[in-house]
Each structure stands twice: as structure tokens, then as C-alpha cells.
Amino acid sequence: MLAIEKDCESMGDRLRDLVRDFGVARLIILIFLGILIASAYFLKLPMGQILSSILTRFGMNGVLVLAMIPSIQCGAGPNFALPLGVTCGIVAATLSIELNLVGFQAFFFALLVATPLGALTGYFYGLLLNKVKGQELTVGTYFGFSIVSLMCIFWTLVPFKSPEMIWPYGGSGLRVTISLQDRFDKVLDSFLSFQIGEVTIPTGLLLFFGALCLLIWLFNRSKTGIAMLTVGNNPRFAESSGLNVNKYRVIGSVLSNALAAVGIVVYAQSFGFLQLYMAPLFMAFFAVASILIGGATLRRATVWHAIIGCFLFQSILVVSMPVANVVVADNLAEVVRIIISNGIILYALTRREAGGDVR
């Protein structure tokens, strides 16, 4: 990303610097994606469908990836406790079904409940993170896991009555998967959507995602946003310039979890189902991997990183599925997803970063 402006360097050096800056792992992933797309083309797979699918999945997962930005920017690293915000969003969505809302009304009600709920839990989580500086990633991972399993008990006990959510023949608790077909399934996707050739553009979804990106971009340029970036970059310097480090870290956590709560509602409306119980357990890892693929590090992330990363990661997933089906066997796409997403996180963890150790 950074331009190399040393004229005296030879071409080879420059190229090497460029590659190092871009990262070997990212290069491998790009080449892999190139091979996938080429083979999809030669296998005569329906490229229009693939592209539509990439666009939908890009918007569907985008907000969850955006949730990583404030957390990384405030210096707490990628938010591995994403399931915390996600469960808030799911609670809000179930509430909108329980109140028998439909369409955009249901969707916006869910957002309206999800955002403050996510922000509130994010606030308390931020307080916790301030106590465990330097270990945010491990603590976050297991905090997220425990919340998911605790919420399993909640789903079993919650006294919701809507027949769409409870088991049809007795049994306590909510279903594992709730269909949103008659609720807010694809309200954003189909809003103003149109076709170019074979490609369907989910206009509403992309607009919504774009608006959120713009909001974060603007926030990064606001006074609070810049202060938060400073705190994340160099806490000592921030402290000596009179910034309250802990306060801005809490703000980062609040924003991150609120975005996660919004993100899952958007995800669910596009997916068409609401997944409860253990489903959010591994959601954080894919979001973390996405933003890292986009060029973010454990300490630095921008909106562009999220957009590029989410697009690349989802492209790989979407393209690899049909290609793997034709070439080898089913299920390989899932294995590829596990290897790529965790591989890129490992790569980021072991990289020595400019600007000091994570401590």
C-alpha cells in the first residue's frame, strides 16, 4: 500500500519491497483466486450466476467485516468476541418476529433494537478489555465462545410464543434455524434490484453496506475518530497528549459490537434464515480473516481493507464451490475455507509489525 519513494533502489529491490509490503500470504491467495476464476471459465461454469452470488455474499458479510475496523483501530486487535454482538442482533431479530412484524418494518425494528443492545454489551465488554490489555485476542475468543453457549440456555428457556420460532410438536425453546420467508427475507437484496445480462445486482444491500462504509469513513475523519486512531497507534503518545486511552478503547468496542449486531441482521435477511444456538460460534474467524486478506494488520485497518478483503474472501468461497464440485468432490470448498481463513490469521499473528510489539 505504501508507495516506495526511494529512487536509488534497483528494480529488483523495489519489486521485493513491494511483494513484502503486500505480503506473501496475500499474494498466494490472489494467485489462488486467479487460478480458480480461470478454471471456472474453462469449465464453462455460469459466470453470471457466480458474479451475482459474489455480490450478494459480499454485501451479506460486509457489515460483519466492518465491525472489525473500530476494534482494530482503537488498539484492541480484531474483535474475536464478535459472537457477543451477533447474539444481540439475533435477539433483536427474534423479537421482531415475536411481535409479528413484517417486511421493512420488521427489518428496521430489528436494527433499532440490535444497535443499542450491541452498543450496551460492547460498553461492558470494552470495560473488560481495558482490564486485560495485551491479551484481548485470547480473552475475546473464549469470551465469545462462553457467550454463545450461555445464550444456548437462553434460547431453550425464552418464553416466545410465535409458532414460526418454537418447535411444532412440543419441546422447549426455539428452533435451531428460523425461516424468515414471511418476515424480512431479502428485503434489502430485492430493493431496487436489477439485472445486467445474467448478473443480478442486489442494489439495496450494496447501498446499505455502502452507507455504513461511508459512515465509518466519516467517523475516522471526525475528532473522536482521529483520537481513537491515535490511541490505537500509540497509547503512550495518546496519553501524553491528554487523551483518555481507556475511554477511546471503550468507544471502539461499542462501535464494533453495535456493527456486529447490525451485521447479523443484514446477514440473516440475505440468507433467509436466522441461525441460533451454536451457529455464531465461529463467525468471528471468518470476519477476521476477511479484513486481514484485505491488507489490514492486527493494529491497522481501514474501510478499504474491509471492502477489498470481504470481496476477495467471498469470491474465493463462491468460485471454489462449483469448481471443487466439478474437479474433485463436494465439501472441499469448506476445507479450503478453513485452511485459508485460519492460515491468514496465523500469518498476521506471526508477522513482526512496524510500530512496536503488541503489548
Partner: protein, 380 residues
């Protein structure tokens, strides 16, 4: 019986302070209460419970003990033992295919597991050295990553590029392992060597103790105890206390850290071999996944922390964790009318105790750092 197994405290004969004792051992005491409460409400007959506990202690202790060395070496909880477990499972796939059985088959599995575990441990150690201070999260992610590679090998390479003579292991397509792989020839290879049966008057079921397995675990405990007294053991401790001081003292820090991980991975591999001979089959895509989490939760419940662990804590933790494991579904059913709740509670406690221990550790070490900084400032 449960209450006496508390971890070894530094011997302090002058006056026993109850408050301090409680404070030091708050975690095991809490779980002891949970276990007794749950055990009472589960309604399980005591002999059955004791039998279950003995079986589970015998098959899980080895895995939990494998976590101790990296903790001493200052690398925290080694979530990377998942790789050791994978080595054990690969070794079983080989020995079953070579048609081995019984004790010799079991021993060959352990032998074959060794080189694989050493290589995995070495790679893990190198990775950890590149991520100093972030070993635990690296270990967690490494476990997931390795699981992806493992699935790739088991689903697409075995049977296609690597010949598998025993066709019953493979899926109907002839490529990839089945979900459950039978290792019947080695079932109870170790446990059945010498079983002691206790008959309690008035109770139908006798209490059965697999003596050899327990002796193996005890042997490991003594070996470790001895290891800590050797030069290498002291090096582990020195590196664990302060990497920089150890380096100044002439210890090759990176090498010692890699050795610690190799030890841990090899022990975990053998632990998984023992674990699976008791089970009699391998859940190909699941057996190893939980190994890291369960072993870590067990040692933490025993009162260990990220920086301190003893053999006693590992054994006590295994006892408490698995007792909770046995009783919680039934207790959940009897108390809440739903076995599923007990199940979820168990998962919650597993994750929660790890999260809490990690948070407490970070909290304390930050307080210590702050104090050190303040002292340094005052001195300056």
C-alpha cells in the same frame, strides 16, 4: 474422597490460615461444590459414578498432564496439543492398516506417533517463536488451521494418493476416511492387561480399576517430577520466568521453547493413543478437535493458571472436570426438566472457565507490570 486431593501447597507449618487457603484454591473449591451438588441431583448411584470417574481419569489424565511443560516455560496454555492428538490418530490409521492388534499393536502405535508428534511439535514451536507473547491465540488458530489440513488429508488424500488396504475404513467412494474408524483390535489393549475388581457388599456392580493405565499415568508423573529437577527442567523454568534474563544467562531461549512444545506435543500424542484405546474407535473428524479445549479447561479447574501448574492440579482438575461432565446432563434434567440445559451449562463452563482464567491472568500481570513500572520510576 474428593476433598483431599487439593493441589500441593507450599508447606507452611506455622498456623493454617483458612482465609488464605480458600483464596488460593477458590476455583477447585467452587467446582468441587458444583460437582457434589450436581452429583447429588443427578441421582446416579455412587458405584456407577465412581466407575465412570475412574475410567475417565485413566484415559484423560495423560492429555491434561501434557500441558504442564509449556506453562512452566512461560508459553501459557498450549492449545496446539491438538496437533499431537492428530499424530496419535494418524498412527492408529497406520497400525490398523498393517493389521496389528493387541498390546504390540498399541505399542507400535505409540512408537509411530512419536516421530510425527516431534515434527508437529517442532513446527509449532517455530511458529510460537515467531509470535512471542501471543502464543496462546496462535495456538488456538493453529489448531483450527491444522484441522483444515487434517480434513484435507483424511478426506482427499487417504485412499487416493495414500493406499489404505483396509477398505472398511474408507467411505463408499473409496476415497477419504469414514466418520468413525474402528480400532477394535486395539480396544482396551492397555486397560485390560490387569484389572482389579472391588466388590462392595450390597452393591451389584463391582468397581473396576484399569491398573496398567493408571500406572502409566503415575509413571509419567514421576518422570515429569524428575525432569523438573534436571538441567533441562531448570532451563524451562528460567525461560518461563524471564526470557531476557535466561538469554543473558546463556540459555538458548528459542531452542528451549521449541523443546518444551515438542515435549508437550509428544505427550499429547501418546495421551490421545491411550484415550482412543479405551474408546475403541476414532471419531475421525471430531476426536482431536475438543482435545485442546477440554484439557485446558480441566487443568484450569484444578487451580492452575496461565503461568503456574503442578501435576497435582492437573490430576485434580481432570477429576473435577470429568465428574462435572458426567453429572451435568442428568442434573440439568432433574433440576430444570431438560437434559439439554445441563449439556449447555457444561459447554458454558468449559469455555467460561478458560475465558475467566485468561482474563484473570491478563489482569494480574498488568497490575504487576504497572507496579514494576512505578517501582522503577521511584527508583530513578
Amino acid at each position: 474422597m474428593n476433598g483431599d486431593g487439593t493441589p500441593e501447597l507450599p508447606v507452611r507449618r506455622q498456623g493454617f490460615e483458612l482465609g488464605e487457603f480458600l483464596q488460593r484454591n477458590v476455583v477447585p473449591i467452587f467446582f468441587l461444590i458444583v460437582c457434589i451438588f450436581g452429583g447429588y441431583h443427578s441421582g446416579l448411584p455412587l458405584p456407577f459414578l465412581i466407575n465412570e470417574i475412574i475410567t475417565r481419569m485413566a484415559r484423560n489424565s495423560f492429555l491434561v498432564i501434557s500441558l504442564i511443560i509449556p506453562i512452566l516455560a512461560g508459553m501459557g496454555l498450549n492449545f496446539g496439543i491438538v496437533l499431537g492428538a492428530m499424530a496419535g490418530q494418524f498412527a492408529y490409521v497406520i497400525t490398523v492398516n498393517l493389521g496389528m492388534a493387541g498390546l504390540s499393536g498399541f505399542l507400535w502405535t505409540a512408537v509411530l506417533c512419536f516421530p510425527m508428534a516431534v515434527v508437529f511439535g517442532w513446527l509449532t514451536g517455530m511458529l510460537f517463536n515467531n509470535a512471542k507473547g501471543k502464543e496462546m491465540i496462535t495456538g488456538i488458530i493453529l489448531g483450527f488451521f491444522a484441522n483444515g489440513v487434517y480434513q484435507f488429508v483424511c478426506l482427499y488424500l487417504l485412499g487416493k494418493f495414500i493406499p489404505i488396504p483396509v477398505k472398511s475404513m474408507l467411505l463408499s467412494t473409496g476415497i477419504g476416511l469414514r466418520n468413525t474408524v474402528d480400532i477394535k483390535p486395539m480396544h482396551y489393549a492397555l486397560d485390560n492387561l490387569w484389572k482389579v475388581r472391588f466388590k462392595i457388599p450390597g452393591v451389584i456392580f463391582p468397581i473396576i480399576i484399569p491398573m496398567v493405565t493408571i500406572l502409566v499415568v503415575l509413571g509419567l508423573c514421576f518422570l515429569l517430577h524428575y525432569l523438573f529437577k534436571t538441567k533441562l527442567g531448570q532451563d524451562f523454568r528460567a525461560v518461563g520466568q524471564d526470557r531476557h534474563i535466561a538469554a543473558v544467562a546463556g540459555i538458548k531461549v528459542d531452542r528451549v521453547r521449541i523443546l518444551a512444545v515438542i515435549f508437550s506435543t509428544v505427550l499429547a500424542g501418546w495421551g490421545q493413543v491411550i484415550f482412543l484405546q479405551n474408546l475403541g474407535n476414532i471419531n475421525t473428524y471430531g476426536s482431536h478437535v475438543q482435545v485442546g479445549t477440554f484439557a485446558v479447561a480441566a487443568i484450569l479447574i484444578g487451580g492452575a493458571s496461565v503461568t503456574k501448574a503442578t501435576i497435582g492440579q492437573a490430576l485434580l482438575g481432570t477429576l473435577l472436570f470429568h465428574t462435572m461432565f458426567i453429572v451435568s446432563p442428568l442434573a440439568g434434567k432433574n433440576l430444570m426438566g431438560n437434559a439439554q440445559i445441563g449439556e449447555y451449562f457444561r459447554v458454558f463452563v468449559t469455555y467460561g472457565v478458560i475465558g475467566l482464567a485468561l482474563a484473570l491472568h491478563a489482569w494480574q500481570s498488568r497490575a504487576r507490570d504497572k507496579k514494576r513500572l512505578r517501582d522503577a520510576e521511584e527508583a530513578a
